[in-house]
């Protein structure tokens, strides 16, 4: 056994310099297609955005005028942008909290439930595979004032006075988008938490239950701290996807009523393609980019500390 290993190592050592030389030419050829297409269709347009964010370009004319930091000054002063940032903040915080709470709950349930485990997992996970436009439409129909199922159910159980035009009301439109997004997103994070749960050795919970710890205590002191690794991943992923949310807003409210559900991603699109102020749109896009960058770096640094090494 060990003689074989030594022999293998010797052949490796002999083969190595030649292998390396061979790889030098091949590695380049293997990487080049990815490098070119990624540079051309991600990096070049991103660089273009940085440049355009300092111009007043309308997106059509040849006249691309450099205006310095004027777009960024306008971002600082515009109440519409402030409102969009506020909405983005509300939506992101609510989504991160609710999606993670729901996902942990679903993961624990699916992990513990005795019958139809796989079926339940699939049912909770399936909505994440659907298009935001499609599911946004279905939710809009469920919440429709006149013909929607939700109001119909409220009426049937005698709560007819609660019936509201959910998506048309400034009070509830945001809530409706948030809850339907939780419905659509929680299953994804559930899968990650489920993998985390299954990595926790059963002996820990057994020992705790011999010591007399009940279900909640076990969850609080064993399961939850040991899920910190999965949580880092899920928090970062859910926050980034919440910052980028677009489809549901487009279908369910179009940013309205008024500007009640207009977020940063939505205002970028509206300003850039609806109002043809692409210079200003790219400046807003830079703000989104920096936000995502910041969130990723801070969260990874901050949440890693909480992780328990196993």
């Amino acid at each position: 056994m060990s003689a074989n290993l030594v022999k293998a190592e010797q052949t490796l050592a002999v083969a190595n310099p030649k292998r390396k030389r061979k790889w030098q030419s091949y590695a380049l050829l293997f990487i080049l297609p990815s490098f070119l297409i990624y540079t051309l269709f991600v990096i070049v347009p991103t660089a273009g955005s940085i440049y355009l964010s300092f111009t007043s370009w309308d997106g059509i004319s040849e006249d691309i005028r450099y205006i310095g930091f004027a777009n960024f000054v306008e971002i600082l002063q515009s109440t519409r942008v402030h409102n969009a940032l506020k909405n983005t903040l509300v939506m992101t915080i609510s989504l991160v909290v609710l999606e993670n709470v729901a996902a942990i709950l679903l993961a624990v349930l699916v992990d513990k439930v005795r019958w139809f485990k796989n079926l339940f997992r699939s049912v909770f996970y399936f909505p994440t595979l659907l298009s935001g436009v499609v599911m946004g439409f279905v939710w809009a129909m469920i919440l429709n004032y006149n013909f929607g199922v939700f109001n119909q159910m409220l009426d049937a159980v005698g709560l007819g006075s609660w019936m509201v035009d959910w998506l048309g009301s400034p009070k509830y439109a945001m809530l409706a988008i948030i809850l339907s997004t939780v419905w659509k997103g929680a299953g994804y994070y559930m899968i990650i938490y489920l993998a985390g749960l299954q990595g926790i050795p059963a002996e820990l919970n057994e020992a705790a239950s011999i010591d007399g710890a009940g279900g909640w205590k076990q969850f609080r002191h064993i399961t939850f701290p040991l899920l910190a690794g999965s949580m880092t991943v899920c928090m970062v992923l859910s926050m980034i996807s919440a910052l980028k949310i677009f489809d549901q807003i487009a279908v369910m409210t179009d940013g309205g009523p008024g500007f009640e559900t207009e977020t940063l991603t939505y205002i970028i699109y509206k300003v850039g393609f609806g109002e043809l102020r692409q210079g200003f749109g790219t400046a807003l896009a830079m703000v989104l980019f920096l936000l995502i960058l910041l969130v990723t770096l801070i969260q990874v640094k901050f949440l890693r500390k909480r992780e328990v090494q196993m």
Binding site: P45, L52, P127, L129, S131, A250, F273
Partner: protein
């Protein structure tokens, strides 16, 4: 109550809670599929009622009177060709980055990973112009390139970590037998990467099938775009023809349901490995 009976009750209660949540989670999908087989009048009268019979007129109308069939074709072409192109170029790059392991490949790797943090919105405005300059505006080639480019970062991350686990000895044996690097990769290493490839194909494939913003922006108006974009357009245009839109959304959901049921394990694996290695 004995401990056993108590445990039994606990199990039943847990099951009941899970079941209720599952019903709530499944309802919108069920509602969508059910409504697709109802006439508009039926939907308006009682949204909750079961369809009286199989009403197929809205499907017929969508498939014969509108440009929905072309949109289905576009969605299929975009998904299949983009995924094929991703499989053709990304595994190779991930493999070379891991095996060559030099300073410059590490730098390229970081450069690719940085792309994972750039949201599409950050470059969509210049992209539109760039596709026009490159003469790709109006064809499906543009969006295909954008999908492949967008998948490079995460794809390389997945493949490099998976290639690490493959023993080099297999490749060395093949090299001694006179195989060149292309042969080694495609004939020996690539088949071993099957599980990662399967996960990438199903997850990215669905992402493309469901994508909305990019095809809406870069495909020319006045022509059929993709299924999702057409559905969005119908919502604005035929706002009172719910039956038709439900039929359209059902046609977008059903293939996803079929793919999911037949390839379930790859979805779950893809997420779990992506999450722990990301």
């Amino acid at each position: 109550m004995t401990i056993q009976a108590k445990k039994r009750w606990g199990e039943v209660i847990l099951f009941a809670i899970t079941l209720i949540l599952a019903v709530i989670f499944f309802f919108p999908i069920f509602f969508n599929l059910m409504s697709a087989f109802k006439s508009n009048a039926e939907i308006m009268r009682d949204a909750l009622a079961f369809p009286k019979g199989l009403y197929l007129e809205s499907f017929k109308y969508l498939l014969t009177e509108t440009n929905f069939p072309q949109a289905i074709g576009n969605s299929l072409i975009l998904t299949v060709v983009s995924i094929a192109a991703q499989v053709l170029i990304i595994p190779m790059a991930g493999y070379a980055i891991e095996r060559r392991n030099a300073k410059w490949t590490q730098a390229v790797f970081l450069y690719f990973l940085a792309g994972m943090m750039i949201p599409f919105q950050a470059y969509m405005i210049p992209l539109f112009k760039e596709l026009k300059v490159l003469g790709m505006y109006g064809s499906l080639v543009g969006p295909i390139c954008v999908y492949v480019a967008g998948a490079v970062g995460f794809g390389c991350l997945l493949y490099t970590s998976f290639v690490k686990g493959i023993p080099r000895e297999i490749e060395e044996a093949a090299e001694i037998d006179g195989c060149n690097q292309y042969g080694i990769f495609w004939k020996i290493v690539f088949p071993l990467l099957g599980p990662v490839t399967a996960s990438m194909v199903v997850l990215n494939g669905l992402g493309i099938w469901n994508d909305f913003l990019m095809p809406m922006l870069v495909l020319p108006s006045g022509h059929p775009k993709t299924m999702v974009v057409e559905i969005y357009r119908y919502i604005g245009e035929f706002s009172s023809r719910w039956d038709m839109i439900f039929a359209g959304t059902a046609m977008s959901v059903i293939p996803v349901l079929i793919v999911f049921i037949s390839l379930q394990k790859y979805f779950v694996k893809g997420i779990a490995s992506g999450a722990t290695k990301g």
